[in-house]
Amino acid sequence: MTPFPFPPCKEVHESLTELMEGSAPLYKRLMLRLHLAFCDACRPAYLAFLAMRRVGPKLLLPPADSPREAEDALKAVLKRVEQDRSEKKIKG
């Protein structure tokens, strides 16, 4: 009896994250990879998962200029800092 039988598509799909995390036992990973090597339905999903991990961080890099709301948040904090400083001076 095998500890993890040759998995059906549903199970492979549900295990893709586990496979990418390397958290599945070796035998299970081998079976998953074997399935992926031959299954035209599951392979694109796996490749898309991998591509997403690879390009995601590059796609979501910040723009060169900060938006208005970020500038407003900084202004509010600088005002608060200035107030704190003034209060300290008065107390001091």
Binding site: T17, S23, E69, R85
Partner: protein
């Protein structure tokens, strides 16, 4: 304008003494990065502005404890990400009684992870402006906003910020199994919408 390490040390020293101009000059080169990191988690402009404000205040208050073990931008960025996570918790009415139940925003106190893997603003604009990525980026941002917040934060922390599953579980107060489940659902949702785009990426 980017500052040299020596200039940055001077700005930090002045900011610790209460110089708001120095604090502004210290933060401004990284402001877009900080805001973007927060926005990716919260996917809402007003919430992002509030969380950024909290994060910047926490940076200011934490500056005397900044020991320079990591880059300033990495340290401050982590504080902003923590501020976004805190904001999300408070928006879910987790904060009702005791604010001390929540972890400090200071990553050097609470987070054992090295913080050297930060995307720097300097490298940002080139990839950001690539026309072929623009459509996919917009779609990804749209799709992220459609995710349930609990899945979005896990996806962003794992696949974008590259935190470990264990760190995410600790930070969110859930098990690694829950993190993996949320991550898988998020990836599944995103891939279901964007698979054709991702498969075109060389």
């Amino acid at each position: 304008m980017p500052t040299t390490p020596a200039q940055q040390s001077d700005l930090i020293r002045l900011a610790v003494e209460g110089d708001s101009d120095a604090f502004g000059a210290l933060i401004h080169p990284h402001l877009s990065l900080f805001h973007h990191g927060i926005y990716r988690i919260l996917a809402n402009h007003q919430d992002a502005q509030d969380a950024l404000q909290d994060g910047l205040l926490a940076i200011y208050r934490g500056l005397p404890r900044f020991e320079g073990r990591s880059q300033f931008s990495s340290w401050a960025y982590r504080i902003c990400i923590n501020a976004a996570l805190m904001h999300r918790r408070s928006s879910r009415r987790y904060v009702e009684k005791n604010a001390s139940d929540f972890p400090s925003l200071d990553p050097e106190e609470e987070h054992p992870n090295p913080m050297e893997t930060l995307p720097e603003v300097a490298a940002a604009s080139e990839a950001y402006n690539q026309l072929e990525h623009r459509e996919l980026r917009d779609k990804l941002m749209e799709t992220l906003a459609l995710l349930p917040p609990s899945q979005r934060e896990v996806f962003v922390l794992r696949d974008i910020e590259d935190w470990s599953t264990e760190d995410i579980a600790t930070q969110l107060g859930v098990t690694t199994l829950v993190v993996r489940q949320r991550l898988h659902r998020a990836r599944d949702f995103i891939c279901a919408r964007l698979q054709p785009y991702f498969l075109r990426v060389p």
